[in-house]
Amino acid sequence: MELLLQLAKNGVIIGLLYGLFAYGMSLIIATSGVLHFAHGLTLAGSAYSFWFFLQDQDLGVFVAILGALAVGGLLGILVELGIYRPLRRIQATDMVFLVASLSVLTLGQAALIFIFGTDPKAVTPTAFLRWSTDVGPFNVRMWDLLIIGASALAFTALYLLQRHTSVGLSFRAVGDNPHRAQTLGIKLQRTYVWVFLAGSLVAVLPGMLLAVQNPVTPSMGFDLLIKAVIALVVGGIGSMPGALLGGVLIGVVESVAVYWLPTEWSEFTLYALLFIFVIARPQGLTKGALRTA
């Protein structure tokens, strides 16, 4: 029983990480309508940058965080400006956007291999990061606290942003009804740039958190992307709380289900979950707010 609680806790923690990543994607798709697969590149790129500034260049954690945020944010904006904006101008179909996004992801992975090589890169955990303590039945690691803290920060910040700032309200307005937003004087192209920046910055958090716990690999973005897409479908595509709920749900399922099932099936359980939702509840846990236009 104690073990099960511990596994559930680990599942929630990993799920928050998936949720953070999915949340950025959700934000982007809800406003721009783009299923941004290249978000995986933003994650991997920021994880490598964090490693590069912290471990390779030894510039300190503060510079590493800023550097990772800068690279992550820049990657998001560049893909929007360099790929999606021209596609929007020629009124490309969703399929074209999807293929373009996937191509950016694979090309980006190849670039990461070219720059950093295929061997994994790791950040040496400091005493601060290795701290852990027992709380009741749970072993609580510093990593857990960092993830909880980062999630709370990101979710609160974006919640407030989207309800109380003009840029956040315009994200939702553009996602809801771009034509009306335009007649109101909102600049669509500028809003897209902002939302890609915001969504990408959110992805930098799981990027850095993964980098301090596990070696950084070129394929890490792709691995997380699959989880995030499942989380989005399960949670409801385009819904903000849905991304979080979906992420946590798959984190827990992945962690706890294999307690009873053979461990070979850990990925299978996720696909089974995806399958169940696609068949029985395609709108997801929370009704997705994705516009159909």
């Binding site: 309200l169 315009s170 939702r172 034509h179 009306r180 937003a181 004087g185």
Partner: protein, 254 residues
């Protein structure tokens, strides 16, 4: 205040006050297809001007061309004496035009409160604004108390008439020099049409907002407007006061 008895328009002559909008020889269309040709019109300070015409006459096209959503192929558009021909929709909005499009004209997934706040924020802090955002907000909420009572509800949960009020209020929150309304009565019951038109007239008179109103329901519109233009197949066929309009053979105009 939202009674069916709309204040009737004065039968005065053409506006003598300063012009807010001046359109000269406007030509616009889609691709090679010219929809609108040689249309000229003006809206004076504080005036409520109606633009009428049959289905497909080109009324929406005219509003789109004026507000910069569509680039005119010929002609000139001036706002407060400033040439805005070919300006972007964002720029005309910034300079003080606020168009309320036909149909889906509120953000259905956002609350009424958020719809209004966003509109205020978009135009926020324009130095030329004569009133504080708070003043406009109180005015709007006094005029449409429903917006206050249901402020936390999603705009999508409102009835058609209530949505029009939110849409008009959003336009007002930007404190426009000129409000352009595209058939606000679409899909409304007759009693609601009267309410909406009365509200437009009230806004026009109490806030002094100039209005260019596109409508189908000629009879009702004549009761609230200062002046009227009619276009047929994209060309102007009548311009004058509601009184003069009553002298015309309408079957020739529509």
């Amino acid at each position: 205040m939202l009674s069916a008895g709309a204040p009737s328009a004065t039968d005065g002559g053409a506006a003598t006050t300063a012009e807010v909008l001046r359109v000269e020889g406007l030509q616009a269309g889609y691709g090679k297809h010219v929809v609108l040709d040689d249309v000229s019109l003006t809206v004076g300070e504080g005036e409520l001007v109606a633009l009428l015409g049959h289905n497909g006459a080109g009324k929406t096209t005219a509003l789109r061309a004026i507000t910069g959503q569509l680039r005119p192929s010929r002609g000139r558009i001036q706002l407060d004496g400033r040439d805005v021909t070919g300006s972007s929709a964002a720029l005309t909005a910034k300079l003080g035009m606020s168009m309320v499009p036909q149909g889906q004209n509120v953000f259905a997934s956002m609350t009424i409160d958020e719809n209004l706040r966003l509109a205020a924020a978009v135009a926020g802090g324009r130095p030329s604004n004569p009133r504080s955002a708070q003043d406009v907000r109180s005015f709007v909420l006094d005029m449409f108390p429903i917006l206050k009572d249901r402020g936390k509800d999603k705009a999508g949960s409102l009835s058609g008439g209530q949505r029009q009020m939110v849409a008009i209020s959003m336009a007002l929150m930007t404190q426009p020099r000129l409000m352009l309304l595209d058939e606000p009565s679409t899909g409304l019951a007759p009693v609601l049409i009267d309410e909406v038109l009365a509200a437009v007239r009230t806004v026009n008179q109490q806030l002094g907002t100039s209005v260019l109103l596109v409508e189908q329901d000629t009879k009702r519109v004549l009761r609230v407007s200062d002046r009227v233009y009619v276009i047929k197949l994209g060309v102007p066929v009548f311009s004058g006061t509601p009184h003069e309009m009553h002298q015309q053979d309408w079957s020739q105009l529509f």
